[in-house]
Symmetry: C2
Subunit: 335 residues, 2 copies
DNA sequence: TAGTATGATGTAAGCGCTTTCATTTATAGC
DNA sequence: GCTATAAATGAAAGCGCTTACATCATACTA
């Protein structure tokens, strides 16, 4: 690979001048600029971005930490971020945190040591305090899907409570009165918030929540199946089920079908996230849309605006989920 | 951030010695090593990997180019690669090529300029020649899901032809004789190979292929729906449909259902890829398993073995797909 | 006991770029 | 034509590391 030095020699100018035309951050005469560009062209010169980063202490790359690289949810998010960054000439470096504290911290350290200019984090296991401390350092961070009051400006989050509320309200409005709730792992704030939304809707309709109709899963479809088994085993009647995410809803639906229950005639089900699979399962899942791709894009914009000085961008910190009506929930049968 | 210099000062040794304990590639006395480790600990030292890369001309990171960041297929693949690399202390830098030649080349250039030690590429738009030329340079590359004879050693591929054959054969063995085929975009080699497998199975069973029962889609579910419409519109009878991938199968299934066809009673459908969605759609999709996660892992191992000298690893270049029987294909109804 | 491996550590020259500061050259004002 | 000012360029010092190579101490050999 040609280096800046060879370019400068060929063009008959100094290193500094070549650097100037690359970065166009200082005046260079038109004639010199052309000489340099020609030399670059001729040598097939490509700047070594590692060296640029070391020298400038800026890497033009933003670090992203997600829980997993697979799964529809993170894929959408990554894609949103990458698109936006790429369009602005910034690059992404990705690490996975696997929802484990040690691994998340390790990933963050890695991204920092990689000289990222900013970090976009989707972390779950790490504490608020840790993040607050991190944010007070000199690495800018933006948090996706997490809300920490003291870091409100750095958070791009969804109103999960509202989502839980909307999901439940839909069922209530369809006449259901006996609802079961399948929660996500309660140590995750989104799982908790969604559950609280559910409770609020119930209360608003004057219904008391029956703890026996609550099951706690882990957001995976297998746990949706397991929870459904549990719920059914209790023998308590319920005509509707609110699931804290789509995957558990899919697992639950399968078990329901195996038990001879028709969805939605015998049991209405509402999910949460509006993953791609919600359109594939049968019947198509009524769910709450989580605009994660859009939120990823917004996080990227946050970075572009705050770190790369693209002032014009409009930011939005909290997104509101909306209900997507499909076929898995219907009005309760007469009687 | 503390630098190696401060560590060396605190420990009372030279820069070189600190570097030696970090890399453990030279003997350092136990006493010195401990002093250095203690100093690192005390300062919370983390090596600056940019500087390491620049100095050593190795980055301990492998570049990955995928077509898209979202979608179940690439997610699995990325996840497989990341897991394997992470376990070996290597990191991944990801770029998306969007199946466009310019974009793929650009991504490759980016990864090269980032001083990756090797590249794992899932490219579709770029020519064989380009890749052969690239491989002859000094950046090691491994290709996933693509087979180029002259680069056979660098290819981790699936026997797509066999997959197409197996899918078709299953249907044939179930007694079907009138099969339709829904292909992927024929300019993609995997789409072509799968189709050829189909033809081979047909020929083997003495059946001639009816071109009117061929539809070419683009691997997306919407095109699966569109192709199914086309096929149905022709009014030609067929009792089974082989789809070049699961997503088109899902789209096709929906349209079939809308036309009052029961799957599999009226129409058997076989997909390809065994994406996660194959288990979610109803009826569950009979399909060909594409072990993409495993192949990603293998690509990572290729790099570990060939670039990072982990000799012990066992490599495998071509994977064989297997049939996964679920509920969307059944023996043809009597008569 | 001198002579020689051998192990442990230090010295210093880069890696390819950015950026400050100094210097040269062009432009304008009078 | 001569100075004051601005514009264009060059020189050189890093950025935080790695890695020959040199040096020094120690342990063996004969």
């Amino acid at each position: 690979m040609a280096t800046i030095y060879q370019v400068s020699e060929l063009a008959g100018v100094s290193l500094a001048t070549v650097s100037r035309v690359m970065n166009n951050n200082a005046r260079v005469s038109e004639a010199t600029r052309n000489k340099v560009l020609a030399a670059m062209e001729q040598l097939g010169y490509r700047p070594n971005s590692i060296a640029q980063s070391l020298a400038s202490n800026r890497s033009n790359s933003v670090g992203i930490l997600v829980s997993e690289l697979h799964g529809p949810f993170y894929g959408e998010m990554l894609s949103g971020i990458e698109n936006e960054c790429r369009a602005a000439g910034k690059h992404v470096i990705i690490a996975a945190g696997h929802s484990e504290e040690a691994s998340e911290k390790d990933g963050i350290e890695f991204l920092i040591s990689r000289s990222c200019d900013a970090l976009i984090l989707h972390v779950e296991a790490v504490s608020d305090d840790y993040l607050i401390k991190l944010a007070s350092g000199n690495m800018p961070i933006v948090l996706i899907n997490r809300f920490i009051p003291r870091l409100a400006n750095n958070c791009i989050s969804l109103d999960n409570e509202l989502g839980g509320y909307l999901a439940t309200k839909q069922l209530l409005q369809q006449g259901h009165t006996q609802l079961a709730y399948m929660a996500g792992p309660m140590w995750k704030s989104d799982a908790k918030d969604r559950y609280h939304g559910h409770l609020r809707a119930m209360a608003e309709h004057g219904l008391s929540f029956n703890p026996a109709l609550l099951a706690e899963g882990d957001f995976q479809d297998s746990s949706g199946s397991a929870c459904m088994q549990q719920l059914l085993a209790k023998g308590l009647p319920f005509s509707a089920l609110v699931c804290a995410n789509d995957e558990m809803a899919a697992g639950a639906m399968e078990v329901a079908r195996a038990h001879g229950l028709n969805v939605p005639q015998d049991l209405s089900i509402v999910g949460f996230d509006n993953l791609i699979l919600a359109r594939y399962i049968y019947p198509k899942l009524t769910t709450i849309d989580y605009p994660i791709g859009e939120m990823g894009r917004m996080a990227a914009r946050w970075v572009l605006k705050n770190i790369y000085q693209q002032q014009a961008l409009q930011l939005k910190n909290v997104f509101e989920p909306v209900l997507v009506c499909r076929d898995s929930a219907s009005a309760i049968a007469a009687g």
